[in-house]
Every structure is written in C-alpha cells, then in structure tokens.
C-alpha cells in the first residue's frame, strides 16, 4: 500500500540523516581546516630545521667545490629546491649552487629571514650562518613556491583520507538510521496490511519504547472502534431477527389464507396479515429512526422551539391510537416553554413516550402529559400512565435496544424507549422511569438542563 505523503509531511529518516550529516560535516570541516593549518605550520618548521641543518653542513665544507658541497647536503625528498651561497666576509661570493642567484639572497646575515631576490621575483626562505671564525657567511635558501607546493601536497595527503572517511561515515549513518527506523516501516506495513475486520491490539513487546505511547493510543482507539462495531453488528443482527418474526407471521398467515376453505377464517387471516404488516412497518420505521439518531450530532439543526406546542402536536397525532384503546390523553396546560432543540426529534420522542404509555394503559384509563419549567430554569417533561409500570430492577434494562419486559403482551420490538433515550441524550437531557410503590402506572420523565433553555426574553 503506497500513499502519497501530504505536502506538509516530512520524513523522519531524511531529517535524521540530513541533520546528522550536516553536524558531522561542519565538525569535519573545522577539524580538517585545523589539521590543514597545523600541517602547513609543521612542515614549515621541518623545512626551517632542514635549512638550518644544511647551513651547518655547508659551513663545515666551505672551500670545497660547490658540486661537492651539494653532494654532502642531507638527501631528502624535497632537497632539489635547496640553494646556497657562500660569501667571504659577507661580500665576495665564493661559491653557489647552480640554481642560486648571483646576488646575495638577503642582507640579513644571521638566522631565518624571508627575502626577495632580484631575478624573476622568486621568493626565498633563507637561513644565514657564519663559520666559527666569522669569516664566511653561508646562506641556504629554499624557494617559497617549492615549499608551498610540498606542504600543500602534504596537507592534501592528510585531507584525502578525511574526505573518504566522511563519505564512508555518511553511508554508515544512512544505513544505521534506516536500520533503526526499520521497525517503524515494518509496523506501518503491518498496520497497512490489516483488513478492516482485524482490530486486535498490536503487540507491544517487540516494538521500540519510543513508539509505545503511540501504539498504546492506537490500540485503545482500535478497541473503541471494535466495541462500536460490535454494538453495530449486534444491532444489525437483532434488527434482522426482529424483522423476521413479523415476516414469518405474514407468510404463515398468507399460507393459511390460501389453504382455507372457509370465508370467515380467510377474512380473519387477512386481517392478521394486515396487522403483521403494520407491525413490520412500525419496526422498520423505528429501526430507521434509530439508525438516523445514531449518526445525529448534538446541536445540529437546533432551533428555538416551544415544547408545549410540540406536546400538543404529538398528542394530536397519537389521539386516534389512544381512542382505539379507550385511553384518554390529558395535557396539563401551561405557558409556552422555549427550548433549544431539534423539533423533529423532540416530536419523535414525545410520540414514542405517549405511544408507549397508551400501549401499556388499561382500557378506560388516563395518560397525563405535562411540561413544566423547573426552578433552576431546566425543563421537565412528564408522561404518566396507569398501566402495570416497570419494576425498579428492570428500569435500566428496558432502555436497551430490543428489550421488552417479560410477559409483555403488547406487540413491539422494544425500541421505543431506546429512541426516547437517544433523543434525550442528543439534547443533554436525562430520561427517568419511575414506578411509585402502591401507585399504579409508570411515570416517564425527561429533564432538560437549564443550558438547553432558549432565552427568548433574556432577563435584564
């Protein structure tokens, strides 16, 4: 799996290599420069020592032929550039080497000096010395040009391995960094090759310590994804399961109707088919609603809405159903209550609450709906019925999807309260189910916090 890096991304490896190489190169350059200077300096001293040594020898040989003198000078690799002059009393040139100028090399007559001789502007490094009786002056010289050539050659010999070493070091660095970062690449590849189903934790034991915080977070994330995937899968499986039962009922009744030879039986069966279809439809609607609610983000499409008015609308929509069951719906009237919320979802919540209450109410009973403003500016919505209620132990349980109370005789898939709970969650509200001892019925209440109140008339 290759991916094109984002324009702002960078390579850790390249950064490391470039950074390390830069530092090494700078230090290397400094060291080389110092070494170069040192080499030149050192060679100067060696050459000077050589000049002085040569002068000593010549002083001892004064009187001999120049060629003979030359043959006595210490044989050295660089000697060819050496010239000498022997002056009597410092005035008469007694002898000189063939390459030496005829003019005196320098007026300085003792020790080292630099001089410019007349012919051709050649520069010389000269050492002058007198013999013991101070009769002859010997001057030995070396042309600066030759000296420089030699010392540069020396320094270059020194720097050459330095350059090669730098190159080798660079290669070694690149390889080491690459090897060091290999676990990172291997890890990336391992993660890249995972199928979306493989969300098990990445083993931490053979990964570098520096990567472990990242991996731990990644593992934690994968665990959360796995959990939400599991929930989703369970929900899908449950949904399919729940849809199969009404479908089976429809098919079974249809088969019965086909085989029935009795008109009244066939009619009854057809009515049951309609009923089972209604059940399947309701279930599908609830499933779609839940799927929609799951992806709903709190705060989206929130507007200022009047809870009182929404309640009136929801009661109006549920009235035919309540009428069929001889259940009376009563709304405790009050002033408009402004809430910040999604009116569509709030209506769905209200309808589900009222629908549930009616469904579990005995005939000829009353369902009381009220919306009240709390002292802390929160809002409380209550739906109270006279049905069997929900035992305290089951109250948390019924909020789970597809959970229905044991012995429940009403058709339904146990999604109504899950929908209510989810809408409440989106509105930061809390759903509470209460059954008071000795008092029939269930009181379902949704409490919206004061922060959800829409301040239409801000208090001044």
């Amino acid at each position: 799996m290759n991916s094109i890096p984002a324009p702002s991304s960078y390579s850790l490896r390249n950064r490391l290599v470039a950074g390390t190489l830069l530092i090494v190169a700078v230090i290397w350059a400094g060291v080389s420069y110092t070494a170069w200077r040192e080499a030149l300096n050192e060679s100067d001293q060696i050459f000077d020592a050589h000049l002085a040594q040569s002068a000593d020898i010549i002083v001892g040989l004064v009187g001999n032929e120049p060629d003979e003198i030359a043959s006595h000078l210490p044989t050295q690799r660089y000697q060819r550039a050496l010239v000498f002059q022997v002056w009597a009393n410092g005035e008469t040139l007694l002898a000189r080497s063939s390459a030496a100028p005829a003019k005196r090399l320098t007026t300085v007559d003792n020790g080292f000096s630099d001089s410019e001789s007349g012919d051709g502007g050649r520069q010389w490094r000269v050492f002058s010395a007198w013999d013991a009786e101070h009769k002859y002056l010997v001057q030995v010289a070396e042309s600066n040009e030759a000296r420089r050539a030699v010392s540069h050659e020396l320094a270059e010999h020194l720097l050459y391995p330095f350059a090669v070493a730098l190159l080798l070091l660079a290669i070694a660095l690149v390889l080491t960094i690459r090897a060091g970062l290999a676990p990172l690449l291997a890890l990336a590849q391992g993660i890249g090759q995972r199928s979306p189903d493989r969300l098990d934790a990445i083993a931490l034991n053979d990964t570098p310590r520096e990567l472990q915080p990242v991996l731990e977070q990644l593992n934690r994330l994968m665990m959360r994804v796995q959990m939400s995937l599991d929930t989703e899968r369970r929900f899908t499986a449950d949904a399919a399961h729940e849809l199969r039962t009404p479908l089976a009922a429809i098919r079974a009744h249809a088969q019965i109707a086909l085989q029935s030879r009795n008109d009244s039986e066939r009619l009854r069966t057809l009515q049951l088919i309609v009923e089972a279809s209604d059940h399947a439809t309701r279930l599908t609607e609830q499933l779609l609603m839940l799927a929609r609610l799951d992806s709903e983000t709190p705060g989206k499409d929130f507007v200022d809405c009047d809870l009182q008015q929404l309640t009136v609308d929801a009661i109006a929509q549920t009235t035919p159903f309540a009428f069929d069951r001889s259940v009376e719906l009563v709304l405790t009237e009050g002033a408009p209550i402004h809430l910040c919320g999604n009116p569509t979802l709030l209506t769905v919540m209200l309808r589900n609450l009222i629908d549930n209450a009616v469904r579990y109410s005995p005939r000829d009973s009353t369902v009381i709906v009220s919306a009240t403003l709390l002292p802390d500016c929160g809002t409380k919505l209550e739906v109270r019925d006279q049905g069997p209620g929900i035992p305290a132990a089951e109250q948390q349980n019924v909020l789970n999807r597809f959970t229905r109370l044991d012995g429940s005789t009403q058709s339904g898939a146990g999604l109504g309260l899950s929908i209510v709970a989810r809408v409440a969650e989106i509105h930061q509200a809390t759903l509470q189910l209460e059954t008071h001892a000795g008092q029939p019925g269930l009181c379902a209440s949704v409490t919206f916090p004061a922060s959800m109140a829409a301040n239409r008339n801000p208090t001044t």
Partner: protein, 218 residues
C-alpha cells in the same frame, strides 16, 4: 397428534396454531417458557415447536431443562437466528430439528411428521398394518387397496393408535390427542370414533382393553 407451540409473538403464534391445525395437528400454543415447561410436564405431547427468544424462560434453557429431565420429546426449534453457530447451539442443547423464520408450512408440517415418526421408532413415512396403510402427509388411508374416507378425528385417532401399535393407549392419552385445550370432551365420543373406525376398516382391528383403553396389536 398433539403439538405444543411455544412462540411469544402473538401474530406468529396464532398463525402457527391455525396452520398446524390445518395440517392435521392438535396444536396448543403458549407464549413463554415457564408456561411451556408447565404444559410439557403435565400433559403428553407428540412434539414441540420452540422459539428461542422467549420471555421468562428462554428456549434454550427450556430445552436443557427438558432434556435434563429425561424427556425424549421431539423438539423443532423455529427461530430467526440463522447462523451456523446458532443452529449448532440449538441442536446441542437438545433440539431435534432447526428451522429459520420465515418458514413454509408444508415443510414445517413434514418435518414435524418425520420427527414424530422417528420418535415412535418408525423410519418409513407410511404407517402400515397388514393391508392398512396410513399416509400422515397426505392424510390418506387405504385398506385392502381401497381408499377409505375418514373424518379428521377418526384419522387422528387411527394415526395415534398405529404410531403406538402394540402398546395400550389409555382413554386419557387418546382423548388428549383429539381435543385441544378448552374443547369439550363428550363422554362417549371416543367410543363413537372407535366404532366408526371398526365399521370403515375391520371389526377386529382395534382391541378394547376393558377399564384401560384401546390398542392395535403388532
């Protein structure tokens, strides 16, 4: 043949009761596991159709309890859960057969007949006794090569006796296979049906065991 249907969904339960009655079973229907357990302990059933997602006592738990009690009752699990693992779990818990919803009534009835036949130690689909043959699937009876017209109750009675050929069947056992719960049992109805069977088939086919009931000898 009496069947116990255990299904919590009202509409499907009703469909099962009606459909299986149409197919010639005596079908009783309960909506939760505890009721099913009570019914199975107290009354004879030829087989049970069991949903797994039941309130109060789950289907699998009921099955385990039933098998733990040593009951050989043929049980067909009818459920919406259709993965191989669900099937394995169901069969391992003691189910004899497994069908997923939605189902076909013809297939359900045929599987139930096969289960009941097997439980009675009979592999052949046709029950035969001398020249008498009874086909539980088509509900056809022939005797000496001629087809015989029987009423639903007469057929059920003959089927029950043939399934248990060689065994004495008490009046109570036979009556419970004929009448559903809440149905009025006329005091001499059983004798009347036996009389009709003897007249339509052969007088000596069904033996009377005085004070006990009836049997068809092997």
């Amino acid at each position: 043949m009496r069947l116990l249907i255990v299904e919590d969904d009202r509409l499907l339960g009703e469909a099962l009761r009606t459909g299986l009655s149409q197919a010639g079973f005596q079908a009783e229907w309960v909506q939760d596991g505890e009721q099913a357990w009570a019914a199975l302990r107290n009354e004879p059933f030829a087989a049970a159709v069991l949903d797994l997602g039941l309130p109060r006592l789950g289907g699998l738990e009921l099955l385990r309890r039933l098998r733990g009690d040593g009951s050989p009752l043929p049980v067909l699990v009818l459920t919406a859960r259709d993965t191989a693992r669900d099937t394995v779990t169901g069969l391992d818990a003691g189910a004899d057969d497994y069908m997923t919803k939605p189902f076909d009534f013809g297939e359900l009835a045929a599987r139930l007949r096969a289960l009941i036949r097997r439980a009675a130690g009979n592999a052949a689909p046709l029950l035969t006794h001398g020249t008498l043959t009874l086909d539980p699937a088509s509900r056809a009876v022939t005797f000496g090569g001629n087809s015989v017209e029987l009423s639903q109750r007469e057929f059920t009675l003959l089927h029950e006796l043939l399934l248990n050929a060689g065994k004495a069947m008490t009046r109570t056992q036979l009556e419970s296979s004929l009448y559903a719960w809440g149905e009025e049992v006329e005091s001499n109805a059983l004798e009347v049906h036996i009389h009709h069977l003897r007249r339509k088939l052969a007088p000596d086919l069904i033996r009377t065991l005085r004070g006990v009931g009836y049997m068809i000898p092997k």
